[in-house]
């Protein structure tokens, strides 16, 4: 119970903390929730579930091993976000601390709720703080881009709300376990429409190819911490929803109907995102499109709904969080110290800031999925799964490796090497080094021993029925 409620309590407390202590408070609060969840996971048997009930009719919680993985990921991401911005102005603002913690509460709710309406409620609840964070701390000159982000996701969410109401009416059930055994296939075409409602919401959030238009501008204009929250954990809600809720529940007619459309969109996103990323001159926009490319691959592989692929997809989800925190932190460091993100204005940083050069290189290699990193395990097995489904999709998916190398190496090489365009560049602060070190260690650990993750989540992934 404290696992879920702790962030909410801290979020309310944050309003009363004097601004001199806010950044310490944020770090301690997120550190405490992280520590609490690590302790809790030590006592957790992966075969079991923890049930939590506050006496609400539509919102109940149960934590299984997949939920625990996501809880740990959320708490770790929040901790790293506070730690990586330790020198920035943002964390001194108690509005930010409170909203980020509120968002953490919403995310934990999404990952642990046991009822379909609870899933929707928490899903929407996360939108509220990120909207305010982007508005107050982002650099949106005009609210148009921000409103586009909000209304786009709201439209997707409302489609999901309609599907939720329809699903609850059609099956007369609301809990996860009851929905799993409900006979959705008997609904025929209705089940296809219901799944379409969910998929629309997810496609906007992930985002998949034609629904991605909000992404680049929002990522670019958002503060670094906001971008990290968005890409490292908020988008994972959609993948989690696909993995935990939609695919097992709609297994059958509806999944067969939507499989290839979604895979096609995902793979278009893989190639399209990568090609656009190659042409970008702004380093943050480049990483935004890279994110589009990576997530398209995960979504496509998830649609295969294969037991072993789903386990690997969890590894890749964790890996993408690691990579996106690292890369957006690097972009943030460059922007904070030099005031520019244009690749053409950067150069020669490795010489004057060797520590930054080293750690950015490590994260670049993690992002490139070189062997012994989590990305290698993830991408290799996902592409392999797509290959065995269809050789053409496998081929298209594998271009992510080549194209990824092109844009990532460019994103690293241009600012770091070449003639030095700046005389001074303050090297990494200890907090930033800690973040980079944690990320690198995690990436390498999951690259060497992915089975600790895959075996853990395997307990809560349903075995395919066909």
């Amino acid at each position: 119970m404290a696992l879920i409620l702790l962030p909410l309590i801290f979020s309310l407390l944050a309003w009363f903390i004097p601004s001199a202590f806010t950044r310490l408070f944020g770090l301690l609060a997120t550190g405490m929730t992280l520590a609490w969840s690590i302790v809790a996971v030590c006592y957790f048997q992966p075969e079991e579930q923890i049930l939590i009930d506050f006496g609400l009719r539509f919102v109940r919680f149960s934590i299984d091993s997949l939920g625990f993985t996501m809880i740990l990921l959320t708490n770790a991401v929040l901790f790293l976000v506070f730690l990586s911005n330790f020198t920035g102005k943002l964390v001194n603002d108690n509005k930010f601390a409170s909203l980020a913690l509120l968002m953490q509460f919403g995310l934990l709710g999404v990952f642990t709720t046991n009822t379909i309406l609870g899933f929707y409620i928490f899903w929407e609840l996360t939108l509220l703080p990120i909207f305010l964070i982007l508005y107050w701390f982002g650099s949106f000159e005009k609210p148009r881009a921000l409103l586009q982000f909000f209304l786009y996701t709201l439209l997707g969410s409302l489609a999901m709300l309609f599907a939720v109401i329809g699903l609850m009416h059609a099956t007369n059930q609301q809990t996860y376990e009851a929905l799993l055994v409900a006979d959705i296939n008997a609904l025929g075409n209705t089940s296809i429409w219901l799944m379409g409602g969910f998929l629309f919401a997810f496609a906007v959030k992930i985002p998949l190819f034609p629904f991605h238009t909000w992404q680049a501008e929002t990522y670019t204009k958002a503060p670094v911490a906001g971008t990290m929250l968005l890409s490292a954990i908020m988008l994972k809600m959609a993948l989690f929803g696909l993995l935990k809720w939609v695919l097992p529940i709609f297994d059958g007619v509806a999944t067969d109907f939507w499989r290839w459309p979604i895979i096609t969109l995902g793979l278009i996103g893989v190639v399209y995102g990568a090609v656009i990323a190659i042409r970008q001159s702004d380093i943050k926009t480049l990483f935004a499109y890279a994110s589009l490319s990576h997530l398209g691959l995960i979504a496509a592989a998830l649609m295969l709904n294969d037991y072993h692929t789903n386990q690997i997809a969890v590894v890749q989800i964790v890996n993408h969080s690691i990579v996106s925190i690292g890369l957006f932190l690097a972009a943030g460091i460059i922007e904070q110290r030099l005031g520019t993100r244009k690749l053409s204005e950067l150069g020669g940083l490795a010489k004057i800031a060797p520590r930054f050069g080293f750690w950015f290189a490590v994260l670049t290699f993690v992002s490139l999925s070189v062997p012994f990193t989590a990305g290698f395990i993830g991408e290799f097995f996902l592409i392999k799964a797509l290959f065995s489904a269809n050789a053409l999709t496998g081929f298209v998916a594998s271009t992510t490796l080549v194209l990824g190398a092109v844009y990532m190496l460019r994103a690293y090489q241009v600012p770091m090497f070449g003639p030095s365009k700046f005389s001074s560049f303050q090297d990494l602060h200890w907090s930033e080094i800690t973040v980079f070190a944690i990320l690198s260690i995690a990436a390498i650990y999951f690259g060497l021993a992915p089975q600790c993750l895959t075996d853990f989540v395997a307990h809560s992934l349903t075995q395919p029925t066909h």
């Binding site: 609400l56 409620i121 609840l125 509220l128 107050w136 209304l151 709201l154 409302l158 109401i165 009416h169």
Partner: protein, 443 residues
Amino acid sequence: MDSIIILFIAGLIGLFAGMSKKPVASILIASFGLIGAGLAAYYRGSYTSPFSTYAAYVPTQGMVIILLCAVTLLAILGGFKRYKSDDEHTGDYLGLILFSLCGAILMAQPNDLMLFFIGLEILSIPIYVLVGIDKGSSTSAEAAVKYFFTGSFASAIILFGIALLYGATGSFQLIEIQSNLAIGIWQSPMAMIGSLFLLAGFTFKIGAVPFHFWGPDVYDGASNAVLMYMATVVKIAGIYALVNVFGQVFRDSYFFWIDLVSLLIVASLFYGYITAWKQTSFRRLIAYSSIANAGLMLFALADIHNSNLFLFVAAYAVATIALVAINSVINDDSDAIANWEGIAWKNPLLGIALVLALFSLSGIPPLAGFFGKFSLLWSAVPHVPYTAMLALIASVIGAFVYLRLLLLALKKPSVTVSVKLSLEQIIVLMLTSVASIGAIYFI
């Protein structure tokens, strides 16, 4: 019955207490009257009422009375600053509002169409006066005249509908009308036209398209204090009366009017939200928002046995009162939306109440507005799925309207001038904030 009597007596005392020109005494009497009426409704049945033998009146559901009293209490507290400044008329304001509330309670759940009509008139006539009470202002007088003419027109339509129904069935009692209609009379032209006249009249009262046109002008001309009462209690009483009359009487002709109602819902939603978008005057924006919300309220007709209306109207009323109260704090004279810029920074309570009210109206969980909309749509979806789908699309436009206001209010100003709230404003904003969050426990 007891609630109505308590309210009437409190209104009477308040009216005379107003002559002492002590506004605080008047508001205390009115507040105690409202609380007493709410308690009488809550404990009804646990004691023997001296009026229990009055047969023509079947008491309104306790929850609806409590809701009406609570909303009125918020409205008079929120408007107190205005009443106080006009201490010659404080007693008149409060007395009229309480008398009008008697009519609202009487009409909300009728069992007799004549009694319902009397309730409707008792509700309406004090409001005509309240709209025009600001005698110095020409817009106020214009609004009062406009509201009076259109309102009496609507009353006439309703009366005509009642007459036609009486002609078709020979009774004013809803139960008798229903049993007569059920044996096939509902197909007679007289009953059909009667039901359409009733629907038109009700649409007028709650301000849904196509009988919405009086709304913006009247809301604009009325003061914030009166608007708080008018935009909420009239609509709640009207929609409850509509649901009860149609749910009880016209059950059998459901498929005759439900398509028409769906059309009204969609038209109200899109018209209300799209026109609200470009408004520059706050009270007009509230008027258009209330047109759209009236459209949503009509969803209660889709499932007449289980309409789930309560949470939605409560959430709508609370959020609207919070917004108008905020408007009356910062913006009582000019009423321009541009004045909202940066007001969230002027006072923390103001900011919190504002964010909650706007997100609640946009229907973002876990606030009251979402649960209201959800429970309304929950029962409506199996009956009118396509209308519900269109309503969800319209509510994205609605979110746009409210977010525009929110972004304006949250814009960080270069210089912050803080605003001090008076005690009753603090109470109103706190209560509305708590109600917006606390709704999760009522679903």
